[in-house]
Amino acid sequence: MALCTGEESWVDSRTVYIGHKEPPPGTEAYIPQRFPDNRVVSSKLIIDTPTSPMTSGLPLFFVITVTAIKQGYEDWIRHKADNAVNQCPVHIIQHGKVVRKQSRKLRVGDVVQVKENEVFPCDLILLSTSKEDGTCFVTTASLDGESSHKTYYAVQDTKAFSTAEEVDTLHATIECEQPQPDLYKFVGRINIYLDRDEPIARPLGSENLLLRGATLKNTEYIHAVAIYTGMETKMALNYQSKSQKRSAVEKSMNAYLIVYLCILISKALINTVLKYVWQADANRDEPWYNQKTEIERQRHVIIRAFTDFLAFMVLFNYIIPVSMYVTVEMQKFLGSYFILWDDDMFDEEIGERPLVNTSDLNEELGQVEYVFTDKTGTLTENNMELRECCVNGHVYVPDAICNGQVLPGAAGMDMIDSSPGVEGKEREELFFRALCLCHTVQVKEEETVDSIKRGIHQGKSTSFYISSSPDEDSHMEILNREDEMERFELLEVLNFDSVRRRMSVVVRSSSGEFFLFCKGADSSIFPRVVSGKVEQVRARVEHNAVEGLRTLCVAYKKLSQEEYEEMCHLLNSAKLALQDRDKKLAEAYDVIEKDFILLGATAVEDRLQDKAADTIESLHKAGIKVWVLTGDKMETAAATCYASKLFHRNTQILELTTKRTEEQSLHDVLFDLSRTVLRQQGSMTRDTFSGLSGDFQDYGLIIDGATLSAVLKPTQEGSSSGGNYKEIFLEICRNCSAVLCCRMAPLQKAQIVKMIKASKEHPITLAIGDGANDVSMILEAHVGIGIMGKEGRQAARNSDYAITKFKHLKKMLLVHGHYYYIRISELVQYFFYKNVCFIFPQFLYQFFCGFSQQPLYDTAYLTLYNISFTSLPILLYSLMEQHINMDILKRDPSLYRDIAKNSLLTWPTFIYWTFLGVFDAVVFFFGAFFLFDNTTFTSNGQLMATNTQMMFGNWTFGTLVFTVLVFTVTLKLALDTHYWTWINHFVIWGSLLFYVIFSLLWGGIIWPFLNYQRMYYVFMQMLSSGPAWLSIILLVIVSLLPDVVKKVLCRALWPTTTEKIQNADKLYKGHLSEFTPLSSLHAPPLRKHDRPGNDSQIHTHRRSESSPTKKLMCTYWGGKPDYCTFSSFLRLGDNPRFSGAAFAYGAPGPETSV
């Protein structure tokens, strides 16, 4: 009995009592388990406060409030959503009756009734359905985005319990694995206790498991038992794995913050020490005019020193720009709307605009160094069109194939080979039969859903095809038959998976013969073929693959009765296994699927997306390395790469494939390649390494999944040389402008991204894909972009940004990313700068006030400086700034290189800004100092009505410094602004005006609620003094001078590309973007790269021209009043979604649990 063998390793399984009924005594001693209730908790109540703890007063309060409001709002939304789910009613069978319950009260073991179009409240095992055969249809659109209807099966022995009363009599237990996130893997067993004590054990698989979030379709009702509830459902487990991503800018921001924290502490420390040195003389510590209170005198010196230290910290704490975090948050949040609003990225066809799932990574879009892209659906349209089929070596193009038969009357030009003979005819029949039978396509009509067993279905014009693979849809129109009805009985389906890369069906024809039809990738079919015109087909397949078509081979074998029975036995025993079922199934499949007779091959074209090549070329010019990661075969993928200009004609292709490693050892191949690459690198100078220069040979690398896993495999102990395969591989990759990874499993995609991320330069990676198989790499990469494509929305949902077409990536990176990066880097630097300017005079003042922590500025100024006087101009700048026109950025991708590697936030620039801040602060302070010191800094009174002469005190001194500060800091930003819209004018001049008005008001009234009136008329008195005006103007100009000179000199002597373009743009008075061909701004060698690309462009054009004819054909068929639907096939290519997701989550299967 299988039960006993696995006893010990079953700690990780759960036993579910259906209807909470104990099994008959004495059967098994189960450990009672507690399962959580069905409540979902995804809201969190932790407020994450910004970093600096040493902040006082309003700014901090402001920051915390804003953050709390934002977090609270998001949490509230989540909570509301949670509540809606938790409250929604479910129907539970209790004592033979249907009872309504709240969803959150659902417990493991409850038998649930779900009606049509209802969402499953938790993960359920299907017991019975309203249908006799125990099947139901489910759409998992909200789980993985697949809108197709999938069939799920009830447990065979329980499918008869179809009413509530009957279900209540069911007595069974379920054992299954503990919850794990893999949506497509489930292993369990149900023990059904019928009348006798001996239970019947049945295996449970993912075909029995209804997942929470999926919707019941086309089935009146079902009964199912809850096995995973609440946060244990597969859906909940999947969403938990998403982790927070942080941008490079944020990282440097935090690094700067640490520096400033150190500056703050050292400032406070220096001042404290100096204070006590200075105070050593009692007459300084406590002169006769300034005595301490008794309490102060009695305080211990250490306590005094510590409080002094803290007081200095409070005084200088403004150097930590707390409000920066709020501004950054707001900038990101508001800035992300520009992506949403962008007209160019709106897709008219689908009517979708881009999605911004997180605004935290806006600026990271400007920092991308590696783009990992999926091929199918991302680079290509994922819109399959049958290009040709090759039956037994004869090639037919679609015009010649009509309704499943080769039209004998077709013109010779359509028939590439001469008409086949009689034997060929037979093969043809079999070929199309195989295509018709070997599939998972279902035909859906208004009310009835027929399984394919019936073979032929009376279709109406309203019926459409539901397939889990878009490939299959494309063949529907072609594979129609109108003549006789043939009846086949479907016996077994050997489902598709990405490891085997093939699927098979076993059928019994009306004449009683058993057939096994198999279709799959050429590499998985050819080794298993024993006869058929292998050579011709292989040649044709390879030819098609080079053309960039997706190919599929079809084979069959006849089975005798005995063979069939043996096969059934093999399969059943594998299916029943609770442990290692997948492995055993794979073994069984391997035994069954062999000794095929090759029938032929098909080729399907997947056209390149609009402007995909242009986008890739732009990315290349922008210095971004583009890697294509695909599950497709090498030849097809390589052809796509050529078409999309990833590889140019003069690109030297380095192959690192199984084919090559079979001949040589991996070790030798790797070293060979690295030698080739490094020789090149040695011979060239640094400048040409940019990858753009013409004489530089660029390399393209092709690697396949198998070789990659060999490279990445941790080396065996003892072998010293093999230790750094990974390093050598990375070295090769670094020197290749384009890399193509084919035959990749989804997990490998993520592995590659991870490997590049972890390499020593720590480049910023971007992954873009459309299918569930890309989710792993989208989550892994720094920036994940999903394409809202045909393969559902799972990629879009897990991504950080989602766009509709690959071509939008260009604008996203080159324009939006560039702008966001420029904006936020200025924002960060400016914030630190303005706070240095703000606080450093205060630090200097301590040297002149006996280190007594006397603030230089009034409290109102201290509080409002960051909140209102200087906050809005920089926020607006960080939303509006465009240093270069959008069109130029788009036309000239090389500008992207100017900001690569976080170049605006490097330590030198940071130090420059800090020193600029210190310089300005010194100018402010000592400018005012020399005006006040040793002179009568007075207003002569002639401006005032009374003829008096007034003295200025310390508050006037502070106000003078502060006024210069506010003007300098704002004007500095004005000098940095390259894009002055009316909003910028309004905000910059407005905030200066606001400062003046505020100061007039603040000093103009005796404020009754204040217990001091130190600012009374200070500002007015200052303004009534001529020297004050003169010195304000002087100090502002002196403070701004060095930065202006530096900018002008750098621009004149060492201009960056950006600055050159700006100059040129200026010269052409802004018409550069419209009229001047930008190529004239560039070195000519680029031109020759274009040539192969142009060829393929023509190629593409030619292909697209042919498409209207095809459409006509389809309508012609569609117009047939009585057409018979067959089905189709093609589950290969690079979108093995089922297994894809399995790899993506990479969760341990049951075999790993002990």
Partner: protein, 382 residues
């Protein structure tokens, strides 16, 4: 992370299974972004670039404007006449040495000294007389905050219950001090008088005006005597005590002039405006120009500064004590101009900045000439 259900909702909004690519026309319209210039980031804008060419005129302009201003300021500043007398009495030879020494005094008597000085040039127009202190930390935090503005504003309740900030100068003899705090307590109280020695040896006292030396707003708004007492300040202040260092209570600061007595005494107001730096000068008196306009306010010749010290009760020295913290006391006589007092710094700074800008302008012109063309050429080597 978003809640799963939240996602599911979103899904409903965006995705209709089975009808991919055929969202209703209404749906398409609502999702299409508005094509406004702001949303497309295409607002009309002025796009200035700082190049050598554009900043050149600005530099020359600054140079051309600043240098004359600077010269003007410098000349004006130099024309201002200023005379400074240090009467701290550090040296034995100094006439005020005796008064600054520690020895016992009869508390009723006062100490006075005469400092002779000679003016070489005549001081025209109004002459301002300042006292200057150095090393006196009026800007020490403990000192700056040791005052009660509402008390000084004539608030009755604050008068009898001054702010805690005034400690330890808040109460004395169980009475509240008015005005409280360290600033008021340390009011400068040397009496300075000026005499002109006529060539014939006779001594003329020079009329020193003691009003009009404080800010108008301070005198009339910020500082106010408490109401009541029918103008008799001694009644108003009867429940308060004088600051410990003062010899006389606040209502006797200027008994002859009710508008300059009590809290609105201008010497007090001037002192209460704490100086920014430890070395400072404060306006003491104004010597108004003669009515006839024929003779200068202070003709050249010999003068005597008569300093009368009041005794601070807690102190052993009779004068306003500064020597304990190495302070200095000065008297400054100065005329003023349109730009205030003597201030060479501003003029020099203007001249310097103007010249630097001019020089930079020349350098930039050179650079612009040499490199400008190269940069503006369309071919960009890269």
């Amino acid at each position: 992370m978003m809640a799963s259900s939240y996602n599911a909702k979103e899904e409903d909004g965006h995705h209709h299974p089975g009808s991919v690519g055929s969202g209703g026309p209404g749906g398409v319209k609502s999702k299409k972004p508005d094509n406004t210039a702001f949303k497309q980031q295409r607002l009309p804008a002025w796009q200035p670039i700082l190049t050598a060419g554009t900043v050149l005129p600005a530099f020359f302009m600054i140079g051309l404007i600043f240098i004359p201003i600077g010269i003007g300021l410098f000349v004006t500043s130099n024309n201002i006449k200023e005379f400074e007398i240090d009467y701290t009495g550090v040296d034995m030879s100094s006439p005020c040495f005796n008064c600054s020494q520690n020895y016992s005094w009869n508390s009723t008597s006062s100490c006075s000294c005469s400092v002779p000085f000679t003016l070489d040039q005549a001081f025209e127009s109004n002459v301002f007389m300042y006292y200057g202190l150095s090393n006196f930390y009026q800007n020490h935090r403990r000192y700056v905050k040791s005052r009660d503005d509402s008390q000084l504003n004539g608030d009755k309740s604050s008068l009898l219950n001054p702010s805690k900030e005034c400690e330890p100068y808040r109460t004395s003899d169980k009475k509240q001090i008015a005005p409280c705090g360290a600033i008021a307590n340390s009011l400068f109280n040397d009496t300075l008088e000026l005499f002109y020695i006529h060539p014939n040896g006779s001594r003329f006292a020079i009329n020193l005006v003691k009003t009009g030396i404080a800010w108008w707003t301070d005198k009339h708004v910020k500082f106010r005597n408490p109401a009541g007492g029918d103008g008799n300040l001694s009644i108003v202040f009867q429940d308060t005590s004088k600051p410990v260092n003062w010899r006389k209570p606040v209502y006797e600061l200027d008994p002859n002039d009710p508008d300059n007595n009590g809290f609105i005494n201008e010497d007090l107001i001037v002192w209460m405006r704490t100086a920014a730096l430890p070395t400072f000068r404060k306006l003491y008196r104004i010597i108004q120009k003669k009515k006839d306009n024929m003779t200068p306010t202070l003709p050249p010749g010999d003068y005597i500064l008569e300093v009368t010290y009041s005794i601070l009760t807690i102190n052993v020295t009779p004068d306003y004590p500064v020597r304990s913290f190495d302070g200095r006391k000065r008297v400054i006589l100065s005329t003023i101009s349109w730009m205030g007092g003597k201030n060479p710094f501003l003029g020099i700074a203007y001249i310097t900045v103007g010249s630097v800008c001019f020089f930079l302008g020349v350098v930039l012109l050179f650079i612009h000439h040499k490199y400008g063309n190269r940069n503006n050429n369309a071919d960009i080597p890269n």
